[in-house]
């Protein structure tokens, strides 16, 4: 057994990476819920979660415990017990599966082998993500149908129709990027976006493929069933849509899957249009000051926490927690600045996470700003505007490529 493990170091690394990524990703999902509540609250001039932990930072933990201890109800008249239980599991599995091929950073060397900030780098990574997201329709459809109740069924029908319609626009909008990159591997697509455009701008696909990006982003909001396209769970009409009959952890699993999809959409936008892990700054002639930005960011965040100790009326416990976190962040910043190999290692993930957080913010911002579409408007917008726009973008991009080649 030990021999076998020694002969297959890549397997051990893969298992460690999967465990690590799952831990980080699930924690991040819990905190993006906090992030969303906080941002929406501030947009609406409220405080948002504030009681559990400093700035409500322990709120996700409290929510998780609450979900665990709620009574787990299976309605007596479900169409199929098996499918009713299968739906939430399917939702979570598919939502987590898509993250396996996302490259969070470049390749690096560790323990004598080359590995990267991704679980798998496959030739058809983009098709893999699209395929997995196309299967998520089933979790919604099965949940709605097996509940044997009118609101979930109507919600599921709406949601399915919407997801199938916008999937077309989503897939077609990506083709423009594929034409430019000439590869379906997400790692290669990111690597193609290195360098400079006209010597100033970063060579990201957002600039040549701006139309595709608009198309992609709108369709991915619709794909994730988020406002203003959240008709599937329009609470004034359908209670909660397809997951009305679900309670406790099963409801939490749908919740988790929904936020995982928002993450996947942000990851894809970052990878396809915003250069993935690439830094937006060019290489400077003598002192590469941009390399120290992650350290500076950690240190500044630490300072903010320390300053915060005096600003708000915290309890003694909260004050102690904030001080500890602040000191820890300052330490991380100092450590990064002083140990160059680690500083180089975190460059990729730092920029990737920063871009992803920006997209998450836009997702939340849109939800807090725009009112919900009417259902016929939603369908007309998808089929009569986004789809033709995506097709036009493909034609224009291919014509341009042919013209350049000749």
């Amino acid at each position: 057994m030990t021999d076998w493990i020694a002969n297959h170091p890549e397997l051990v690394i893969a298992v460690v990476k999967i465990a690590l990524l799952l831990f980080i990703f699930l924690t991040a999902i819990a905190y993006v819920v906090w992030f969303e509540r906080k941002v929406i609250a501030h947009i609406q001039a409220r405080w948002g979660p504030y009681r559990v932990g400093p700035h409500g930072l322990l709120q996700p933990l409290a929510d998780g415990v609450k979900f665990l201890f709620k009574e787990d109800i299976i309605p007596a008249n479900v169409n199929s017990r098996f499918l009713f239980l299968l739906a939430p599991f399917l939702a979570v599995t598919l939502a987590l599966l898509a993250v396996a091929v996302i490259p969070f950073g470049p390749e690096f060397e560790i323990f004598g082998t080359t590995t990267g900030f991704y679980i798998a780098d496959i030739n058809i990574a983009l098709l893999f993500v699209l395929g997995v997201t196309s299967l998520t329709v089933y979790s919604v459809a099965l949940a709605g149908w097996s509940s044997n109740s009118k609101y979930p069924l109507l919600g599921a029908l709406r949601s399915t129709a919407q997801m199938v319609s916008y999937e077309l626009a989503l897939t077609l909008s990506v083709i423009g990027v594929l034409l430019l990159a000439g590869s379906l591997s997400l790692r290669e697509i990111v690597e193609q976006q290195s360098g400079r455009l006209w010597g100033v701008l970063p060579n990201w696909y957002i600039f040549p493929q701006f139309v595709a990006f608009i198309c992609f982003f709108i369709s991915s909001i619709a794909e994730t069933n988020r406002a203003p396209f959240d008709l599937a769970e329009a609470e004034t009409e359908l209670v909660a849509g397809f997951h009305t009959e679900y309670s406790s952890m099963k409801f939490a699993m749908f919740f988790l899957a929904e936020y995982a999809h928002i993450f996947t959409a942000s990851f894809l936008a970052t990878v396809l249009f915003f250069g993935g892990w690439q830094s937006p700054f060019p290489e400077t002639p003598f002192w590469q000051w941009t390399l120290y930005l992650p350290a500076a960011a950690a240190a500044l965040l630490g300072l903010y926490f320390l300053l915060d100790t005096f600003r708000h009326p915290h309890s003694t416990l909260h004050r102690g927690l904030i001080t500890l976190v602040g000191i820890a962040l300052l330490g991380v910043g100092a450590g990064l600045a002083l140990v160059p190999p680690v500083l180089l290692l975190v460059q990729g993930p730092f920029w990737f996470v920063l871009k992803t957080v920006a997209f998450l913010f836009v997702f939340v911002w849109i939800r807090a700003t725009l009112p919900r579409f009417r259902y016929d408007q939603l369908m007309a917008f998808g089929w009569k505007f986004l789809l033709p726009l995506a097709v036009l973008n493909i034609i224009a991009t291919s014509l341009l490529l042919v013209w350049q080649a000749n």
Binding site: L83, I124, L127, L130, Y138, A156, A161
Partner: protein, 166 residues
């Protein structure tokens, strides 16, 4: 026995089980889900043969689009369990001979292929997306375009038929 052989037998068995379940299940939704299982297992088999693009398309088109429509329609009609009818006379008299002939043919093909014991060696480059694209748009461009015209006609036909009923 390599990992690919284990995977082949596992997913091959899963595909056969799914196909059996598709026929045996009484409820249309369960049948449709069994068909999805068959398609997903077939995608894994394609992957084992090195046809990565075909595998992805199998999932996206068949499991992700066509079967969604099936499930959608079943849900909309709210179809219940199938009722058992008396088997039609055609199936009673022709079904068994045809099935036997088909099984015999498959058995013969298997028997002929057996002694060689050399499986198809998958060509990793043929299954690549670019290779499939080159074949579709260079060697087989006429059949490919003709198929698309046929599909276009079918779509227009479907719209015309649906409009009449509206």
């Amino acid at each position: 026995m390599g990992a690919d052989v284990i995977l082949f037998f596992f997913f091959g068995g899963l595909a056969v089980l799914g196909a059996l379940s598709l026929v045996i299940q009484r409820h249309p939704i369960h049948s449709a889900l069994s068909l999805i299982l068959v398609m997903a297992s077939l995608a894994v088999l394609y992957l084992l043969l090195g046809a990565e693009f075909i595998a992805a398309i199998q999932i996206i088109v068949y499991a992700g689009a066509i079967m969604v429509l099936f499930v959608f329609v079943i849900m909309l009609l709210n179809a219940g369990e199938e009722e058992q009818t008396n088997l039609s006379r055609v199936t009673r008299y022709i079904g068994l001979p045809v099935a036997t002939a088909l099984l015999a043919e498959m058995g013969w093909l298997l028997y002929r292929a057996w002694p060689g014991d050399v499986g198809v060696v998958p060509d990793r480059l043929v299954g690549r997306t670019s290779a499939v694209g080159h074949m579709l748009f260079k060697e087989y461009v006429l059949p490919f375009e003709l198929t698309s015209v046929v599909i276009l006609i079918a779509i227009i036909g479907a719209i015309v038929l649906a409009k009449k009923e509206l």
